[in-house]
Each structure stands twice: as C-alpha cells, then as structure tokens.
C-alpha cells in the first residue's frame, strides 16, 4: 500500500521490485527508485540551465554466507532484471568463497507509518511553475537594482523495497526548493532559501526579498583572526548539524571509536539548551516512511538537554556495535554505505529569542553569519571543521548588525560551538541540504538561528 497520503494508484516501482526479486534466489532484497524532477538555474537574472530527469534504477542485493553482492541497472525489461539478479548472486557467491562474512541478515518488515510528504500538484512537475518562480525572483531583483542567481527545483521520488524476508513496500515523496543569491554592482551578496514538501509551500517573493535584504552596499571591513561571539543563521546552523550527523551521530564511526562522542553517551556534549533529534514526522521536515534498507523511520532523540543520548544505525553498523544495537532506520543506500549511517531529518529545538536581531543584543563585538561554504572536516575525531562564510556576513557592534564584513574562514569544533551556544530563536526553518549527486534524495535540517560564544575565525578573505 501507499505510505504517503494522497499518493495516486500505480505502484509500478513495487511491481518492478517484486519482478526482479522473483529472479533472485536465496536471500535477496531489491530496491527500485524512480525519480522525476525539474531544476532551473539562473544567473545575472537570466535563465541559464533547465534540467528534467525521468530515470529509474534497480538495485539487487544478494546475501550468501554473510556476504553481500550488489548489482544495479536502469533497464526494466525482463532480460535486464534477470541479468541484474544473476550478477548480484554471482558477486555474493564470489565473496563467499573468501570465507564466512559479517553481513547481517536482511532486515525484516517493520511497522511503517503514513506521512504527508507527497503533494499531487508538485508531482505534476509543470515546467511553467519553474518559469513563474524565476520571473518572480527576477522582478524583485530588478526592483532592488540587484542581479539574481540561484536555482528552483521540484521532484517526486518513488521508492519500493521487496525482499525474501517478506518486505514489500513503497513510498513516494515530493520536495521543492528555491535558493537565491542577490548581487549588488559592487559585488556584495545576500542569500536566502526555501525548502518544502510542496512547491506551493515556498513563497518565492519572500525568499527573494530576504536575499535582497542581506545585500549591504557599504564597504566591508576586515576582522582579524580570533574568537568572537557569533549569530549563526539557520542555513549556517544546518550545515554544522549535517556534519554533526555524519561525524558524531554516525553509528559506524561511533562503534569504531572514530566519533567525537565515542564513549560519551550519557555525558554532556553540548549546552543545556541543545535538544537535537532525528524526527522524520516533524511538521516542517521532509518525511519518508523507511530508509534505504526498508527499515521504518522513527523519531530518535540524539541530544537531550545537552547530553548525548543515541547514535543512528543501519543494519551493518548495528551488527558491528553489537549488544542491543538495532538499525534505527538510517541507511543511506541499499545495504548500507561504507561511510555508515546518518540522520537525515535533524530537528534542533528552538529557544526563546524572537529573531536573529534579538540574538545579537548581548554581543558587544561579534559576527553575524548567514551561510557557510566549502565546509570540510580537518580532524574527524574531534569534529574539527573548516570553512568560509559567504553571502551575508556582518559585524555586530553594541548589540546590533552594523557593517558588512569581508568573509572569514572559521576552523572550529562542532561540539564546542554547540557547547558554547547561549540562545536560540523560537522560529525554525527547514534548510535543504541535498545536492542531488546521484538519485535525488531530498533532505534537510529543521533549525533555529543560534548565538554562540568563541567562534574561531582563522583568517579573512582578501579584497
């Protein structure tokens, strides 16, 4: 049955999965993902590229003596499905000849829940909708005497999983996103974005106006390296949380001792105001019924009142962790990713501040960051990251945003920033984090803005 409310009849993906499964002997699981999407890019307030994708991929995992073999195809005819099943089986048998393996049993069906992550109108993917969104953004740019760059996108993804363990389920989700960078003649920029389950859930005018509002034509000042109080906007916080999910709350890294919170469950790892969970049914998030292995998604508290509570698992990391560990429904690809599982519905609970301006009030001299860029781990074990700010970086003086800053490089630890967090806004925003390398997988973090102390700036961009 459909797990997404309002999903029309069809279920071709599940039919295909069951067809491929019928060609697979022994323990096998088939995942079918069909993506249909539109993406329109723009620059200099002109359309530049428009992409429509209609593609399907079938993945078959066979397990023999604790060894998985995986094969995939984009071809749906019977011969191709027989061939992909044969290749997966042959791969598993080849690995099994190396001796018994550690791959756990295929997951058994669990109780999946209905969600509201599918929108019929968005799934229609009308190209005219993209055109209208771009026209709205261009008009606001023209009125503001700015140039607009960015992208509008919408997609529908149907996923089906069938297995010899009895799994037979499918799910459909939609998403829409708009990202806008406004640029002034002097080169200053401002960024805003909107992400929602439905295209109608994005107010294109509001996103464009927000981006335009961050463009300050004043001469930017340079900030020397040092530790500063910071207000991080939701887009910046979302990037940090995404890395926290992949480095710290990743059950594989945790089990191997590579996570910053390895051995620290039950201990304080963040300020008491930090409550972080993976909540696939939270109202603002992009829900889905099950993970890439077909395991049901369920809410999971990760940090409660600053204390580390849990990490996420797929079936492989849970087997490695041993004891009572079970998959929490966080596999990223069929069979589990080599890098391990990760949370994809992060929700950071809001605080009491009315807005980012109120967060800045106690700051005598600090930084307001809209967006981070090119963030990468320097030391995964410490959760040490480096990256740049961009598209709206400001100096805070005497409790208010005063002048634009040259973008700065930060090099700081995620858990240190969360430990030094002093306040959060009440309002939260869903920030889209998917870049759509490979099949479309829309996800994001629901987060407020926050104020933290001691944000470590290590250099400034030259003019």
């Amino acid at each position: 049955m459909s797990l997404a409310e309002g999903l029309p009849d069809g279920g071709e993906a599940l039919t295909t999965a069951e067809r491929a499964l019928s060609y697979s002997g022994g323990d096998a699981q088939v995942t079918v993902i069909r993506e249909r999407s539109l993406l329109s890019r723009f620059a200099h307030s002109q359309p530049t590229q428009a992409t429509e994708v209609d593609a399907v991929r079938v993945s078959v995992i066979c397990v023999r003596d604790g060894h998985p073999g995986e094969a995939g195809t984009t071809n749906l005819d019977d011969d191709a499905l027989r061939d992909v099943a044969r290749r997966a089986s042959a791969a598993a048998e080849a690995t099994a000849r190396a001796g018994p393996g550690r791959y756990p049993s295929l997951p058994v069906p669990g109780l999946t829940r209905l969600h509201q992550g599918y929108d019929v109108e968005t799934a229609a993917l009308a190209p005219a909708r993209a055109g209208a969104a771009l026209r709205t953004v261009f008009e606001i740019a023209r009125r503001s005497r700015l140039e607009a760059s960015g992208a509008w996108t919408a997609g529908v993804v149907e996923t089906a999983v069938a297995s010899s363990a009895g799994m037979a389920q499918r799910d459909s989700v939609t998403d829409a996103q708009l990202r806008v960078v406004m640029t002034a003649a002097g080169g200053r920029t401002g960024f805003a974005s909107g992400t929602a389950k439905a295209a109608a859930g994005i107010d294109e005018s509001a996103v464009a106006e927000r981006a335009a509002g961050l463009v300050d034509g004043g001469e930017p000042v340079e900030l020397p390296p040092g530790a500063y109080p910071v207000v991080l906007g939701p887009a910046a916080v979302a990037d940090l949380l995404d890395f926290a999910g992949g480095l710290a709350f990743n059950g594989l890294a945790f089990a191997e001792g590579r996570s910053p919170i390895s051995g620290r469950l039950g201990q304080r790892v963040a300020a008491a105001c930090i409550n972080l969970s993976d909540s696939p049914r939270f109202a603002l998030t992009l829900p889905r019924a099950f993970d890439a292995e077909g395991v049901p998604k369920q809410p999971l508290p990760l940090v409660q009142d600053g204390v580390a509570h849990a990490v996420v698992h797929d079936t492989r990391s849970a087997a490695l962790a041993g004891g009572a560990a079970r998959s929490t429904g966080h596999a990223l690809v069929p069979g589990g990713a080599l890098s391990g599982p990760a949370p994809t519905n992060l929700v950071l609970t809001g605080g009491g501040a009315a807005d980012e301006e109120e967060l800045a009030v106690p700051i005598e001299r600090g930084i307001h960051v809209t967006r981070l860029w090119y963030v990468n781990p320097v030391d995964a074990k410490r959760g040490l990251l480096t990256g740049m700010t961009r598209d709206g970086t400001f100096l805070i003086e005497d409790g208010r945003r005063t002048r634009p800053l040259r973008d700065v490089r930060f090099t700081d630890e995620i858990l240190r920033i969360l430990s030094a967090t002093q306040a959060l806004t009440a309002g939260q925003q869903l920030v889209g984090l998917g870049h759509f390398y490979g099949p479309r997988f829309a996800y994001g973090a629901v987060t407020p803005a926050l104020r933290a102390d001691g944000f470590r700036v290590t250099s400034s961009t030259a003019g």
Partner: protein
C-alpha cells in the same frame, strides 16, 4: 544507435536553434574490503539518453532511461517544452565548431571487467592483512573501481561520434587510534586512491600490497608524533597534494562559466575575470600550467567533449601569466574568445554538460629529483597526501591539511609531524613557488570526487604534477 540519434536531431532541427543528444551506456564495478573481510562487490549498469535543446532564448535538457525510439522522442518533446517555459533572456551565440565525426577509444591494455572477482579480492585482502597487526589500528580499507562508458553523440549541426572510455584504479587506507587521537594514512592518495584512464594494468602498477606496511607504520607513528608547528616556513608539496592544489586554486578558478559569474550561486565565481586573460600575474615565472585533454591515461582525456568539440591541449598559465581559460562554446562566445577549448562534460546521461576542467597539469621544472629538491631546501616542511581541503567561492583563500608532514632539516627528510596544515592566497602562494622538480618526477594523479552543478555532477579528472617548493607559507593553521 547513431541512426536514432541522427533522426532525433533531424526532428529537433526545425523546432529549435540548436540541439544535441547523448546516449551513455556506463558500467561501474567496485570491490572493497574492510577490516580484514570482504565489504562487498557492487556493479551498476546505467543506460540512457540526455537531450539538450536551445529554443528561443532558453536551454532545456531532459533525460530518460527509456532508450526506445518512443522514449527518446518523448524526451525531446519534454526538453523543448522545458526550454520554451523559461523566462526570456539574452541568448548569446555559440562559438563555431566544425561538426565532430568519427570514433575514439581510450587506452585499456588489460580489460578490468575480465579480471575475476576472486583476483580482485585476493589483492585487497593481501593488502589489508599487510596493514594489520598493531592493536592501535582500528580500521583498514581497500578498494578497486572500474568504469567503462560507451557514448554516442549527435547534434543538430550534423555532428556524430562514438567514444569509449575505460577507467581503473583503487587504493588502501588505515586508521590508528590512541588516547583520542585518530590518524589516517592512505595510498596512493587520499579520497579514493588513484584512478587512471587505463585497464587493470594500472592497479597492478600501484603495488598496493607493497605499500601497505609502510602506511600502517606511519599511521601508528603519527599517533605520537609532535603536532605540526605553527608559523611561516618553506614548504615542499608532494605531487599528490600539489595535484589537489592545482585542481582547487587553478583548475576551478579558470573555468570560464565561473569567471563570467554563471556559477555565482552555487560553485562560486573566480578571482580572475575574462578581462585578465593575457596579462594577469597568477604565479611566479616558474609556473607553467596546461589543460590537456589528449594526455594518454588521464581521466580528463577524450576524443570530443559533450558538445562535440575535439579534445585539445592549451596553455593556461605561461611564466606565471594567465593565458587561457577552460571554456564551452557558449562561454567562449560570451567572453569574446575565438572558440571553445572543449571543456563541456556531463556526468552520465541524466546530467547536462557543464564547463569542467580537463587535465590541468603543472609543467615540470629543473629542480631535479625530490631528493635533490629537499637537499636544496635546507630547512622546511614536506607535506603529502591530502586530508582536508577548503577554498573560498572566488578560489582565492584556501586552507589544506595533509595526512603527514615531515621536517626538512639539513637538506634531509626528518621526523614526522601530525595534523599538518597550510593556508594562503592563490596568487601569493603560486607567486612564492621558486622550484619545481624535473620531468622525471612528473606523473598523473587521478581524482574521482570533483563536484559541480545543480543537480550535482561528479567528474573524474587527472592532474600531472611534480614536487614543488613554496616560500613563506603559513603552516599549522588548524
């Protein structure tokens, strides 16, 4: 297949000002081991058609995995509808290009798909075993990957070609952990090892088993090594790190779409503009950089790019001065250049081509071998194998970390330093290069994780590099 593609282009010709179509049939295989056991064998075959049209002032691109005639015709209609739905814009011309015609096949001596899974696993398990033994080692990993893409192309200007590219490579990595300190060593490079446009012979040439004990010992030794000191010093970059430095601070910076502001919202722009071509100072007089899509064995080599422009070699930087940019037909015309440098590439059939770097390489200098360069250096740091990278959206301010640093003292390599890092500004850094090793040290390094575009595209590219020396570099910044 070419008949169907030609027919499609005939159909498109009357309905748009330009169209091209690619069918890409790609087979990928990955074999991996983890912690002394088989991690898995995966293969994936994708086959589909991507059609790009320009109608009115807009571009439209549609892709499908339905390769039937009906599926292709439906996809053409969708591409046209998408282009026609775009807001009106300024449609600049495409730089002229003679229609491509012919066939091109990349090098492959030993078909990697014919090598048995058992042979691949045996190699990886032997390498894995050679990395284990010390109780402080918590993770060992090895993999080989192979890919073959068979591509057919046609355009509304009468171009048709077919080409086949084979890629093969792999790598190993080891993690050691003690008292909260985690150290990684990998070989023959970080982030996916080393891949070449070649067959299984490339994996054999890597000698993964032979390198395994050394990197395991180094990972353990790094646990108790002193941290990289903070300060300003002379740095010699190993060729694998220099390859990434080239990629990030020269290759991406010279993509003409970025220089024109077309990628401003996502990949970013560049600190140089088209007006800088011919006179801007990018580095020292010793800096010579080329983009060469004709290099044998390199991942960015091809017969024609994904809009039918032949692969070519061009100078990007000569004696430190900016001379060229990486371009497409549209961006070349927008910048007033005579023609495209053949850099439009797409990641499979579901993505439309973008300006992507081909094989951007530094030309060798005259400093002899690495040993001779170190001897000539006296005091400083030798840094190799990337661990972390980050650069701003103009490709100007960067910070890199490497897996390992070695003290250079008295003209010799000395003790290890852990967690080395360095930072700089692109023109200052390349301006401080005062020596580059000779041709005997020059080799290709394949990168398979270059991301760009929306929806995201991952491109594979190689960089020819030699060890080189840089003065007055800020180190120990992380």
């Amino acid at each position: 297949m070419l008949d169907l593609l030609r027919d499609l282009m005939d159909t498109a010709a009357g309905r748009c000002s330009y169209a091209d179509v690619r069918r890409v049939d790609r087979m990928t295989e990955r074999v991996s081991t983890l912690n002394g056991a088989v991690e898995g064998i995966e293969d994936f075959e994708s086959d589909g058609i991507g059609i790009r049209v320009r109608a009115g002032s807009g571009w439209g691109f549609a892709a499908t995995s339905d390769v039937s005639r009906a599926g292709a015709e439906r996809t053409l209609r969708r591409a046209l509808a998408l282009a026609e739905s775009q807001p009106l814009g300024r449609a600049g011309p495409l730089a002229p290009a003679p229609p491509a015609a012919g066939r091109w096949d990349g090098p492959c001596a030993k078909d990697p798909f014919a090598v048995s899974p058992e042979q691949k696993l045996s190699l990886l398990l032997d390498a894995d075993e050679a990395m284990r033994g010390d109780g402080r080692i918590v993770r060992t990993h090895g993999h080989v990957m192979l890919r073959r893409a068979v591509q057919a192309f046609a355009s509304s200007e009468g171009a048709t070609y077919e080409q086949t590219m084979t890629e093969c490579g792999g790598g190993i990595a080891v993690f050691a952990l003690q008292d909260g300190e985690l150290q990684e060593r990998s070989y023959p490079g970080g982030h996916g090892g080393d891949v070449a446009a070649a067959g299984w012979e490339h994996v054999e040439s890597l000698d993964l088993v032979g390198a395994a004990p050394r990197i395991a010992e180094e990972a353990v030794e790094l646990l108790s090594a002193p941290p990289c000191p903070e300060g300003v010093t002379t740095v010699v970059l190993g060729p694998d790190q220099l390859a990434l430095q080239l990629h990030e601070s020269i290759g991406h910076a010279l993509e003409l779409d970025r220089m024109l502001g077309i990628e401003a919202a996502y990949a970013g722009t560049s600190w140089v503009s088209p007006q800088d071509l011919g006179h801007a100072r990018y580095g020292s007089d010793l800096l010579h950089v080329t983009a060469d899509a004709t290099l044998p064995g390199a991942l960015g080599s091809f017969g024609w790019d994904d809009e039918g422009v032949p692969g070519q070699r061009q100078a990007l930087i000569q004696e430190g001065v900016l001379r060229g940019a990486l371009s497409s037909r549209e961006s070349a015309a927008a910048a007033g250049l005579a023609g495209s440098s053949g850099c439009m590439r797409a990641d499979g059939f579901t993505r439309q081509p973008l300006v992507r770097m081909t094989n951007v390489s530094i030309e060798p200098g005259q400093a002899g071998s690495l040993e001779e360069l170190v001897a000539d250096t006296g005091e400083g740091l030798f840094l190799e194998t990337n661990r972390s990278w980050s650069i701003d959206d103009r490709r100007l301010q960067f910070q890199f970390a490497t897996e390992v640093g070695r003290e250079i003292r008295g003209g010799r390599l000395g003790r290890l330093y852990r967690n080395p890092s360095y930072a700089g500004l692109t023109p200052h850094f390349w301006g401080s290069m005062d020596a580059a090793c000779s041709a005997s040290e020059w080799r290709l390094h394949g990168l398979v994780n270059c991301g760009k575009g929306e929806p995201g595209q991952v491109m594979h590219v190689s960089h020819g590099a030699v060890p080189a020396r840089f003065r007055d570099v800020q180190v120990g910044v992380a």
